[in-house]
Assembly symmetry: C2
Homo-oligomer: 205 residues x 2
DNA sequence: TCCTTTTGTCTCCGTCCAGAGACAAATCAT
DNA sequence: ATGATTTGTCTCTGGACGGAGACAAAAGGA
């Protein structure tokens, strides 16, 4: 009974975009084929080529959407000043844990981050530079006040914590336990938080 | 002119195994198909099914080979006692860095570890339990002397360091830089080592 | 020698895929 | 109303794939 217009390019594009998301969410990037996305959208696959060039163009259009990747504000849980007011260990731990939560609630981002580990293409190249910039910005703006002797290690510290959190977030999608830690439980992540705080405790400015 | 016997099951099995390795090394697990492996072995693909059940059976046969995954001895660089003699921060840093080197020199293991992040099957399930056991064993045997108040965090500490090193090792296959660190250079890994040591410095027993 | 088992090849089938091109229907401009 | 453009569907080609099954050749036992 609905009176939707039957020819509407922008609506079709949206259908394709959200179809891509659901295909990606259900079957992973291994299931990401033009045929499947088009079928999920209830639309002919040729429209992918006509409107987005190819599947990668469609994927890029989805990933370029705002609020897709976690921003610095997300990592600060919305309040940059509050994070900056924390002492360095708490700050590092808070950022790491916020980052973890950002990832855990963005399954599509996790899917793309796994993809990034598997192959390199135009899409993952885009992600790569975007994330590199955000990471360095976090190190600069959120830890720029560190004393020089520790400051020159800020990149390495954020790299290690970021890498750890990223791997644990990627891993929990398929495997619950890592080294005795339950990655599917709040308790597991709380333990990680406490430990990060302990490991950064001596880095006080 | 060579006088090799033309019918030799065990040789054929070996050819298939090493063909699987080279296919995996060249094209990643996404390129791992019976057709390709058989072609690389110069053998008909039906022999995979006849001799190993299916491709997964062949993969399992390869992965079960000795010295495939890094053992605790590898992680200790051959001398467990020497590692145990180190103070805790140096010990943790040494193990983490040895573990990194073990991974970096085992591209096939890295490939399987990425696979593990992508999907779960019988093969990755085997890897999962094997690695979980090794990880816990390292925590127990190499850090069992820690005081209780830090000791109860040993799992979390080794999880964080192991996760960080793993992600960095996985990532450097496709992307050189992470957070300003050059993962393709010895200098980059040296910086990681120094930073791990700094981050564990206060955990002295 | 003959017969059985093992080892390996070859053909075939059904399925899925990317993508080109022709075509039809709706919308828009005039 | 009419012609052009946009939007969408359909068919087709060429190829890769997994895997079943028939077949051939060699090895080995009698």
């Amino acid at each position: 009974m609905s009176e939707r217009p039957r020819r509407n390019r922008s609506e079709t594009e949206d259908r394709l975009k959200s179809a891509l998301k659901s295909v990606l969410a259900e079957g992973g990037f291994g299931a990401l084929t033009p045929s499947r996305v088009a079928a999920a959208a209830g639309v002919d696959k040729m429209l992918i080529y006509r409107y987005f060039g190819d599947l990668e163009g469609l994927t890029r259009a989805v990933a370029k959407g705002p609020d897709f990747f976690p921003s610095m504000e997300d990592v600060c849980d919305g309040d940059v000043a509050a994070i900056l007011a924390l002492p360095v260990p708490d700050r590092a731990a808070a950022i790491a844990v916020n980052f973890a939560h950002c990832l855990l609630e963005r399954p599509l981002v996790l899917e793309l981050m796994v993809w990034e580990l598997v192959e390199r293409n135009q899409l993952t190249a885009i992600m790569e530079t975007e994330r590199e910039e955000t990471g360095l910005r976090i190190a600069r703006e959120l830890f720029g006040d560190l004393a020089d002797n520790t400051g020159h290690r800020v990149n390495a510290i954020t790299a290690i914590l970021g890498a750890a959190v990223t791997y644990l977030a990627l891993r929990q999608r398929k495997i619950r336990w890592f080294n005795g830690i339950d990655l599917k439980s709040d308790a597991g992540w709380a333990e990680i938080e406490v430990t990060i705080r302990a490991m950064t405790a001596h880095l006080a400015a």
